[in-house]
């Protein structure tokens, strides 16, 4: 597999690994300070940009799936005690005898996209079961189909070369990591949550409450246990225990019977802590609880019993034991009623509370990244699959019991015949969850919506940005700043710039460039290793030694497992083993001095990043190693294996001293940063010189870079997406960054290098508007294409009738009628034809008798020759004509013909189209100016864009100015310049180039006015800046209406452009008109032009009649005609329906 990956990326990455950076090539001497950045492309080569998704999914299908099946391996029957069915193995995509690399996928991903199918592979299980008296092993039983994550190790694209990818119509630059369900690409976003199975201590200073809580999460259940203070006494709280239980009682129930031992476990010999805690003993004594039995009974009384039907009733003491054993701190399993581990855990929680009561600074920070875990696609899928698998087995069992109950059976019972019936449940369950995003898990009573999102294919960057996005579980509506703030611990893990503006600000984050998200590692070997390294097992340790001075607890995944008196040595030894590869590289270990604890974390979902190891004030990575990397001898993993580089998670980072540059390394330094620009993510990496910009500008650009029109993928012309924006002539930026090369934005760019003059021109450039050069537009600047998909399905009906395509209709001359001009003889639009508003591109007809019954009655034969089909064509409606780009005809899953017509528009920039540079400086086109009116310089160069200089002072986007100077130097020099964050081409060098080429050092040129021909009195900042065209175009937004459709209920004009709605005169506008006193205008706008309605009002009863007749008074004498808004009439009638009679009293106005 490893070789496969190597092959796949080689084409694209080769030139990345040996770029001639700063004029340096392979043969040049290597300088570690400058060349260590080569580790980054090497890292991305093994990891890729979306490796977190792929790793997580691979772990799920290869490891987790087998674990789930093992945990639910047996299906037994309540009826027949002899029967069993046992799952032996589970595989995705290949049969037991087949090569695991040959994945059985029915259709390649692109075909799935086009044909609205799900990209999936069969799930095979091997089962062993009894048939009669025989035990039968059946292999390769298909229980459903698993959606495949693209580019995972179960995907057909895994390990393909660029050529093979082309053959499969796939883009080699596409990152993968998403699913294709029913033809749409779906991403399961990374979810951020508070870490599970860890103690979090919080304090509320106002209420004087300290609480330690732990969310226990196992395969079976999720529950939260609290240890809280109440009036300075400590209690244990849990959802299934009706009231708080004094902590001493809990500890007694868990087997710590002696008060001395309780004190030893909680406080050690610290008298301050003992004083704080002592009051809790009184509490227990007051309640008369002294023994374990009493304590268990006490707890048993408080337990909320929700028993299943016909379960045996338990005694109080049993309830208590049950609560301690399985309800409290559920992630610790109790064997043989040995509660010691759990008791110690509760004691530790209590100790943390006591410590915090003493010193309120010892609370944990919920927003600290080290206390967070990221949940990825694999974890979510495994939750879902386990639920479905359990349901599957349950259904199977029910079915079995039903059949086995029947006393006599003709033939021998074969369970397999009944297992296949439900096989659709797993498939549809998985598909539905991914396509709707609703994760409903019965076990946890979890109902989560919006887990999946449609992969945004607006631009390459938007798709890439989506793969690195992290969404928080935190509610958007709550007004707290903590979770939204930029945490110092995010450094290097989460991008500091890329977050949306508005309500999700700070809650939606993005991964930085060089991060890895861990998957679960086995605990047992690590625990054994701890003991081998000299730590003492906690279960055999004496309680009194636990908190003695100098003793450190060793916590494995948050649980105290051992103690050591030599924490530094222990940690060093452990790290040594990790660096030599004896322990997984992703296990983190760090010391917490405040808690006297050594924490080892091996759980999944931690973010970590690689750093260079520094020993004795020297970086372990030397020029030698980098040379090996450059000539391809070494890969990134070799650095790991040789202990030169290691992964640190946030907690361990906190325990290290990391130097940013090699010059900062001194004796105490433990690590060295690989490259500082990795604090940014993939999207923020596009910005040139971001370290010179005001920080919100970088954030704005991160949002806008995703809206830029450009190239999307190499297969962009093969795709049929609902909406696709492409640029005709995209260019790679003159000023690029190393990130741009790494994510290969230069191969799929979204923008053009525009020559910009920063000056005032006409008055049409105020408020960030841009002046565009008409000739530039004529020559293709900003030209883009819009592709829109239209789908038609030819349905089949139960009565055997079906939709058909009618041919084109012709007039007397044999010419097609105007509406059918674009059609071919088959009734489908012909590729290349222009369709105008009102013309038809799919001439579909539906049967008139579709709703008639299947059994053709006699009346059907009575009129056989009536017209059987009615036209229901697809008509093009848009202000501008389109061209038919592609017509696809296929068959969907349910055998109905599927027709997709792709319509194309080519658009040149026009007034009001939106553009933006890469510095969060957006603007609309304010005027398009003839080339001869444009200013020009000595060489006769005129700008493509004129930008108003007022855009600079308040925005402080110095990076944009630097981009211009570097770009200009690059143009003159014939080179591409770098604007990499914290680096890039230096301004002095750029100025030098400018001067050498005969330009002013500042980038300012003397320009001549194009209109008068005279010199401009100021020097103009003039040069290329990379401009992006954003998807917001006037053509999609323009809207006006004189008259048009009205809503049915209120008879008021409809709302919105899509419904040809009216433009609302709103409340504030109304206020203006009232203030102005234009009452007749108001009357016209609010009633006559909206929903005027003539009613007959009876002047005697005040109610409305009709046709000049009052039905209440039975008279027509007092009827008066008047005009009121229809909405008012509606209100009156609704009130009447509620037994309220609104009576109109009419009087003369004048």
């Amino acid at each position: 597999m490893a070789t496969g990956i190597k092959r796949e990326y080689d084409d694209a990455f080769d030139d990345l690994l040996n770029p001639v950076y700063k004029g340096k090539s392979l043969t040049d001497p290597i300088n570690t300070a400058e060349d260590k950045w080569n580790l980054l492309p090497a890292f991305l080569k093994v990891k890729g940009l979306v490796k977190q998704h792929l790793d997580s999914y691979n772990y799920f299908v290869d490891v987790d799936l087998k674990k789930i099946v093992q945990a639910n391996e047996k299906v037994l029957s309540d009826v027949d005690p002899d029967f069993y069915l046992k799952y032996l193995d589970i595989r995705v995509g290949y049969k037991s005898k087949a090569d695991p690399k040959q994945i059985e996928v029915l259709y390649p991903p692109h075909e799935c996209r086009l044909r609205d199918m799900t990209y999936s592979a069969p799930i095979y299980v091997d089962v062993e079961y009894t048939r009669g008296r025989k035990i039968i092993i059946h292999r390769d039983l298909e229980i459903g189909r698993m959606p495949i994550m693209l580019r995972s190790n179960k995907c057909v694209l895994n390990g393909r070369t660029e050529n093979e990818m082309a053959y499969l119509n796939e883009c080699p630059l596409d990152p993968g990591g998403y699913f294709i369900v029913n033809g749409t690409e779906k991403v399961i976003l990374v979810q951020e949550q508070l870490s599970k199975n860890r103690i979090i201590v919080e304090a509320d200073d106002k209420k004087g409450i300290v609480q330690a809580s732990v969310t226990s999460s196992t395969h079976e259940r999720k529950s939260k246990t609290y240890v809280v203070t109440k009036n300075d006494k400590i209690y244990l709280k849990h959802n299934s225990i009706s009231e708080e239980v004094p902590i001493v009682i809990v500890l007694k129930a868990a087997g710590i019977v002696s008060d001395l031992e309780v004190l030893q476990l909680v406080c050690g010999d610290d008298s301050v802590y003992q004083d704080i805690f002592a009051v809790n003993f009184e509490e227990a004594a007051k309640l008369g609880v002294y023994t374990q039995k009493e304590a268990l009974e006490y707890i048993g009384r408080k337990v909320k019993t929700i028993r299943r039907m016909n379960a045996p009733k338990l005694t109080l003491i049993q309830e208590g034991i049950e609560a301690i054993a399985s309800t409290l701190i559920a992630h610790l399993s109790v064997e043989n009623l040995d509660f010691r581990e759990k008791a110690i855990y509760i004691a530790i929680m209590t100790r943390r509370v006591v410590m915090t009561m003493h010193n309120s600074k010892l609370v944990d920070d919920r927003d600290y990244v080290g206390n967070k875990r990221l949940e990825l696609a694999g974890q979510l899928m495994s939750l879902l699959f386990e639920d479905l698998f359990k349901k599957f087995n349950n259904d199977f069992k029910m079915n079995l019991d039903k059949i086995l109950k029947k006393p006599s059976r003709a033939s021998e019972f074969d369970a397999l015949l009944h297992i296949n019936i439900h096989s659709n449940n797993i498939t549809t369950g998985l598909n539905r969850a991914i396509s709707t995003g609703n994760w409903s898990l019965k076990r946890f009573k979890m109902e989560r919506a919006g887990v999946t999102h449609v992969l945004s294919r607006l631009s390459y960057i938007s798709a890439l940005g989506m793969m690195t996005r992290i969404s928080s579980q935190f509610e958007k509506s709550r007004k707290v700043s903590g979770p939204r703030a930029l945490q110092p611990s995010q450094f290097g893990m989460l991008c500091t710039s890329d977050t949306p503006e508005g309500e999700a600000c700070g809650l939606v984050k993005n991964l930085a460039l060089m991060t890895h998200i861990t998957t679960d590692d086995e605990e047992t070997p690590i625990r054994k290793l701890c003991y081998i390294l000299g730590a003492e097992n906690i279960n055999i340790a004496d309680s009194s030694t636990l908190h003695t001075n100098g003793t450190y607890g060793v916590y494995l995944n948050g649980t105290l497992t051992a103690t050591t008196r030599y924490p530094i040595k222990f940690v060093n030894n452990f790290r040594y083993l990790r660096r030599t590869g004896r322990v997984s590289a992703f296990v983190s270990i760090y010391t917490n001095v405040h808690q006297n604890a050594v924490h080892i974390a091996a759980d999944g979902g931690r973010i970590c990043r690689p750093l260079i190891i520094v020993e004795n004030g020297k970086s372990k990575v030397t020029a030698d190693h980098l040379a090996k990397l450059k000539n391809g001898e070494w890969e990134f993993d070799d650095f790991l294996v040789n202990g030169l580089v290691e992964y640190l998670d946030v907690n361990e980072e906190n325990d290290s001293l990391i130097a940013l540059y090699e010059k900062d390394v001194f004796l105490a330094t433990t690590h060295l940063e690989i490259e500082p620009f990795t604090v940014l993510g993939a999207v923020a990496g596009l910005i040139p010189y971001p370290h010179h910009n005001q920080s919100p500008r970088n954030t704005y650009q991160c949002a806008m870079g995703k809206q830029a029109i450009g190239a999307i993928a190499y297969n962009q012309f093969r795709r049929i997406d609902t909406l696709l924006y492409l640029m005709c002539y995209p260019q790679q930026p003159m000023v690029k960054s190393k990130t741009i090369e790494l994510i290969q934005y230069d191969k799929l760019p979204a923008g053009q290098n525009a020559t910009v003059a920063v000056m005032s021109y006409s008055g049409y450039d105020i408020e960030d508007a841009l002046v565009l050069n008409k000739s530039s537009i004529d020559r293709g600047f900003g030209r883009c294409q819009v592709f829109r998909k239209n789908t038609a399905i030819l349905k089949r009906y139960p009565n055997h009738s079906k939709d058909i395509l009618a041919g084109m209709r012709v007039n007397e001359d044999g010419e097609p009628i105007w509406q059918h001009t674009a059609l071919g003889p088959d009734g489908l639009g012909e590729v290349g034809m222009r369709v105008q508003s009102g013309q038809i591109y799919v001439n579909k007809c539906v049967p008139t008798n579709a709703s008639e019954s299947v059994l053709g009655g006699p009346n059907q034969q009575a009129q056989p020759q009536q017209q059987t089909h009615r036209d229901q064509p697809m008509v093009y409606r848009a202000p501008e004509p389109s061209y038919i780009d592609q017509v696809m005809m296929s068959v969907s899953d349910n055998d109905q013909a599927l027709i997709k017509v792709l319509l194309r528009q080519t658009r040149r920039p026009e007034l009001g189209d939106k553009f933006s540079s890469r510095h969060g400086q957006k603007g609309v086109c304010g005027i398009i100016v003839q080339q001869e009116d444009m200013p020009f310089n000595d060489q006769g160069v005129c700008p493509d864009i004129i930008m108003n200089p007022h855009g600079f002072p308040s925005r402080m986007t110095v990076g944009k100015m630097l981009e211009l100077v570097s770009g200009k130097a690059g143009v003159l020099d014939g080179s591409l310049q770098y604007g990499t964050c914290f680096g890039g081409s230096k301004l002095e060098d750029m100025s030098k180039i400018l001067v050498d080429k005969g330009f002013n050092y500042s980038g300012k040129d003397m320009l001549y006015s194009g209109i008068t021909g005279e010199c401009l009195q100021a020097y103009i900042f003039f040069g290329p800046i990379y401009y992006q065209k954003l998807k917001h175009m006037v053509l999609d937004k323009m809207h006006a209406r004189a008259r048009g459709p009205r809503a049915v209920l209120t008879r008021q004009p409809t709302e919105g452009r899509s419904r040809d709605g009216g433009l609302r005169l709103g409340e504030m506008e109304r206020d203006c008109v009232i203030a102005y006193g234009a009452s007749q205008l108001l009357l016209e706008r609010l009633m006559l032009s909206s929903d005027a309605f003539d009613v007959d009002v009876c002047n005697t009863c005040g109610l409305m009649g009709y046709n000049g007749w009052c039905p209440t008074c039975k008279t027509s004498e007092t009827i008066i005609k008047m005009t009121i808004p229809y909405a008012a009439k509606l209100l009156f009638q609704e009130l009447i329906s509620m037994n309220i009679a609104p009576r109109l009293k009419l009087g003369d106005v004048f």
């Binding site: 020559r779 000595d938 003397m1006 008068t1012 020097y1019």
Partner: protein, 337 residues
């Protein structure tokens, strides 16, 4: 006032000409006088090649020379593709984009051979042999049967896989057969890439090329660029000698400043200066040098797209300007003399 535009480190001064009557009390004799103009005006041709012309217009007002520039860019007519009729296009490039690319190909046609098209005319009678040039492009890509089997070079594997401007074939209509017998219509640059094909793909289309002007669409502009710059003036007010002189020399492009035998810097050829203002950055030259540009000395540079020789473009611009003046003169309001 002098006719030198002042180049200072942060601004440009004296940019507008003031030599017209009524500007100031002493501008009485500033009336434009043909005889005086004939005496002072000079046209100095530096070089003319097939595509570019470089010449100086000396002693002419900015407005006139700017008018020439503007007319050359926007109003000198030339021929370009206007309508593309696509019969078949199975390449990856879309019809509109292909048409756009064909439109931008400069064609070697004498615009005087064609007449203007009547925009109001019926679609059927709009195009005649008098006003339309027809080009056709029929190309299909095939596999090269003699290809080297282990080669991946498309040039070796396929035939006709690159569609160039030279593949546009002139189809003379009616009287054009004789008219263009000696100089058939061809693209000025034969190797402009229009599209790329792969075996099985083909393009078949007809192009109607008509007369147009640059202000309608940039494709009708006969020039790549037509612009001028003012002649630089370097005025050394205090002698610069020794090491400073060398440094002074380095502030300018080579050949602008030289050092005489006394070690004193002197201006050798100010025309070569690019006016980078580098010299104004150096403190030691403060007050020793004055930069400027002659306001009535225009160094024109015309780059033709290839349809017409550059000098002809200039002549046409003069003709068009004259016609405009003529028209203005015959206008009822402007008819003063």
């Amino acid at each position: 006032m002098s006719n030198i535009v002042g180049i200072e480190h942060d601004r440009v001064t004296n940019t507008t000409s003031t030599d017209f009557p009524g500007y100031s009390p002493d501008s009485v004799g500033m009336d434009w006088d043909l005889e005086k103009f004939k005496k002072t005006f000079k046209l100095d041709i530096k070089y003319i090649s097939e595509r570019t012309a470089n010449f100086d217009l000396i002693g002419i007002d900015t407005s006139i020379s700017n008018a020439f520039r503007r007319i050359m860019i926007a109003e000198v007519p030339s021929v370009a593709a206007e309508n593309v009729y696509i019969f078949n296009n199975t390449s990856v490039i879309q019809d509109e984009v292909l048409a756009h690319r064909i439109g931008l190909v400069p064609l070697k046609v004498d615009p005087d051979q064609l007449s203007w098209i009547n925009k109001e005319a019926d679609e059927k009678d709009k195009f005649t042999d008098d006003n339309t040039i027809v080009l056709s492009l029929d190309i299909a890509c095939t596999k090269n049967p003699n290809a080297n089997s282990n080669s991946t070079d498309p040039d070796n594997l396929y035939r006709n896989h690159k569609v160039y401007a030279k593949h546009l074939k002139f189809e003379p209509q009616g009287r054009q057969v004789e008219l263009f017998a000696n100089n058939p219509v061809i693209p000025c640059d034969p190797n402009i890439l229009l599209a790329k094909l792969r075996p099985g793909q083909e393009i078949s289309l007809r192009v109607h090329c008509i007369l147009g002007i640059g202000s309608d669409h940039a494709k009708f502009s006969p020039v790549s660029t037509a612009s001028y710059r003012l002649l630089p003036v370097i005025n050394i007010t205090k002698p610069i000698v020794g090491k400073d002189a060398l440094e002074f020399k380095d502030c300018f492009p080579s050949g602008v400043i030289d050092i005489n035998e006394k070690g004193e810097a002197f201006v050798k050829d100010a025309r070569k200066d690019t006016v980078s203002r580098e010299v104004l950055r150096h403190e030691q030259f403060d007050g020793k040098v004055k930069l400027g540009r002659r306001r009535d000395h225009f160094i024109f540079n015309i780059e033709s797209t290839g349809a017409m020789p550059p000098e002809e473009i200039f002549f046409k611009s003069v003709r068009i300007l004259r016609n405009k003046a003529e028209y203005l003169r015959s206008c009822p309001i402007g008819n003063l003399n």
